[in-house]
């Protein structure tokens, strides 16, 4: 327990001296009166320990004492606790929300980090040491110097098939994922394909079923055998899990009903012309539907340099990084993970 250790941080304010509280919160000079990177050192150490444990057991959910943050729960409080625990003053930090650096919630999180942890911020994926993201993995290839912190709303892929975490913990312990397989099979019978949109269940290191957070299926292949570390952090549900570099991550699928990423037939980005990036639709005022790149930072680069590869910043070429990159075919249709029992569903 932290309180048995000598206090090293912060100032306490007696409950009746509101003036002192106001003074400490007031003014232009950032967050005086708060510890470096907002959280106290004991908390950050605990979060880092949980991250280390998560790295040691890829895909396994590690409980940690998620602190109340000055952001609402469900708005990135897990992500920001992980980010603040691993950021140092020399680091550069990038925050994206649904692919955009400019989203108001991303701006709010970025401001909390720059105010309290004194970090440089950037919108350029290749410049960032730590990237906190809500529901996207950037289009540009991440390197072994970078950590991607993903915000997680729902920690367990099995929640789809059973609401009880206690029951699901037993399933994970026994590697008993039969209920999920049945769910996917029923999907195929009913709809002819697995109809999970985002939050696609993945098997990590051949051992743990993992909820990759609501990233689109487009991004799931990027988790497999990546150079960078992925940290998944949930504030409300108080769990951290991780995919370390070069870990196998396989989406669950059947031999005859393979994993499919989102399809954008005959579409390209209205802004930069890309056909190998995740696009989202915009409904314009004159009812004209347009598609644009979701990763706004990379789209801006592509607008300057049309053919810019996703691995332009690396020494090597042809890096496999999800759909549209050289190993595309293999990663978009991974080998089946179990014997087929898809049957003649259609």
């Amino acid at each position: 327990m932290t309180e048995t250790e000598p206090p090293t941080t912060g100032q306490t304010v007696s409950t009746d001296s509101v003036d002192a509280v106001l003074d400490s919160l007031d003014g232009d000079d950032g967050l005086d009166g708060y510890n470096y990177a907002y959280l106290d050192e004991h908390t950050k150490r605990e979060v880092r320990r949980s991250i280390l444990k998560a790295i040691a057991i890829p895909g396994h959910q590690v409980p940690y004492a998620s602190r109340p943050m000055p952001l609402a729960r469900g708005w990135g409080t897990g992500g920001i606790q992980a980010s603040l625990s691993i950021l140092g003053p020399d680091d550069t930090f990038k925050v994206i929300d649904q692919g955009s650096d400019e989203s108001v919630n991303a701006a709010n999180i970025r401001r909390l980090a720059s105010d309290t942890a004194d970090v440089e911020t950037t919108t350029d994926t290749t410049d960032a040491d730590v990237i906190q993201t809500r529901h996207r993995i950037p289009e540009e290839v991440l390197t072994d110097d970078q950590i991607l912190v993903l915000q997680v709303p729902i920690t367990d892929a099995l929640r789809k098939v059973d609401s009880s975490d206690a029951a699901n913990r037993r399933r994970h312990a026994h590697k008993n994922y039969g209920k999920m397989w049945v769910h996917l099979y029923e999907n195929v019978v009913e709809f002819g394909e697995i109809n999970i949109a985002a939050r696609y269940p993945t098997m990590v290191g051949g051992r743990y079923l993992m909820d990759p957070s609501p990233i689109p299926r487009w991004d799931v292949p990027k988790l497999d055998d990546a150079d960078n570390l992925f940290v998944f952090a949930a504030g409300r549900e108080a769990r951290i899990y991780a995919v370390p570099p070069h870990t196998s991550v396989e989406p669950l699928a059947f031999e005859d009903r393979t994993f499919q990423v989102e399809r954008f037939p005959d579409q390209s980005c209205q802004a930069c012309g890309s056909t190998d990036t995740y696009l989202t639709e915009i409904e314009t005022d004159d009812r004209d539907r347009q598609y644009v790149c979701n990763d706004t930072s990379f789209c801006l680069k592509r607008q300057d340099s049309e053919e810019l590869p996703k691995d332009y910043h690396l020494d090597r070429e042809g890096v496999d990084w999800g759909p549209g990159t050289p190993d595309d075919e293999k990663s978009a249709t991974p080998e089946a993970t179990v014997d087929s029992h898809g049957g003649d569903a259609e």
Binding site: T15, V21, Q98, E102, A166, A198, P214
Partner: protein, 391 residues
Amino acid sequence: MGYVAVKAGEEIIERAADLFEKQRLDGEDETLSVDQIEGQLDRLTAQAMSEAGLYAPRLAALAVKQAQGDTVEAAFLLRAYRSTLERWDETVTADPSEMFATRRVSPAYKDVPGGQILGPTKDYTQRLLDFNLETDHEDDEPDDPTADWEVDETEPEQLTNVMEVLREEGLVHEPEHEFDGEPADTTRESVTHPVDRDEVLQELARGETGAVTALGYSALRGYGQVHPTLAEVRVGKLPVKIEHPYTDEEVRVTDIELSESEAVVPVYAKREDPQFAFGYGLTFGRNERKAIAMTILDASIQLDSESEPAENPEFVLDVVDGMDSFGFIEHLKLPHYVTFQSILDRIRGIRHRAGVGSAAGVDDEAKNGDEAENTERDDSEQTPMEINNDD
């Protein structure tokens, strides 16, 4: 393109916050002081303190003011502040029977040792709007309705706990063994199931008042077996003591106002020696409703059944926290276009295979708004299907 495509994200945030602040300052009226909120709206501050798990009336009044009366938001401000404070010490375990009660009713007995004390309550009045309150602030000194009372200036007394009477008779089921060891602290260690009772009580004590009330009511309404008899409901001040760091003697450092409720439930654990099960509720400040509902939930959860929502500890603890539910419900306001694109891809693919719509949803026919609507209508008679998109 609204709230993502703006370049000046930070400026927009500031302006939105300024507009919110202006709502409070709109109009000609004087600004409410923190003193007024603390002194006159203590039900609000009590609720904020109880849900925050921080006893600090003055800070709670500030939080209520800043949140413009939204108690969950106020509790959220307090919790976020509390989590930055260093913990210096733990109090000596408080014994609720040391409470100086200003109000105590025991529905179980007509009379009890120490008597029934109604204390300050509006429970037994007619709920009619009092239009005099519209203008009473214009009086120099509002009438004190108790001004003419003749009261002994005696200290409030400590009362015999009604549960003690039942316990002495052996009617109450006692735990198999005394609790030894450190109680858990669910603010420092996340809850995993199965849970111990100390964790249940902590989570319920911080639960959102409305959620605790609704779930407690569900058990009474028929979704459960617990219909308790309240041994007593008390409101009063409980001394808080710590061990003096130098002398090791217990010293009283402050009093906190609490609402406490205890109940017995005719659910018999043992056939050969039937005894009451019991439930317990305790909240910061004056909030009898929450204390009683918590009592029902504590008793229900001890039945540890999955057949009724209120008896399933995992269900109750998962949904009862105001910060969690408020945050996640309101997060739906955040942009979701990445996940929605993924969902659109699925539904269009499935519709295409079913012979309605096109694979991409952007072919020439579907582009026309009217026809797109028509195809959707065709679909409406089919079985509803679920596309998993929960985030």
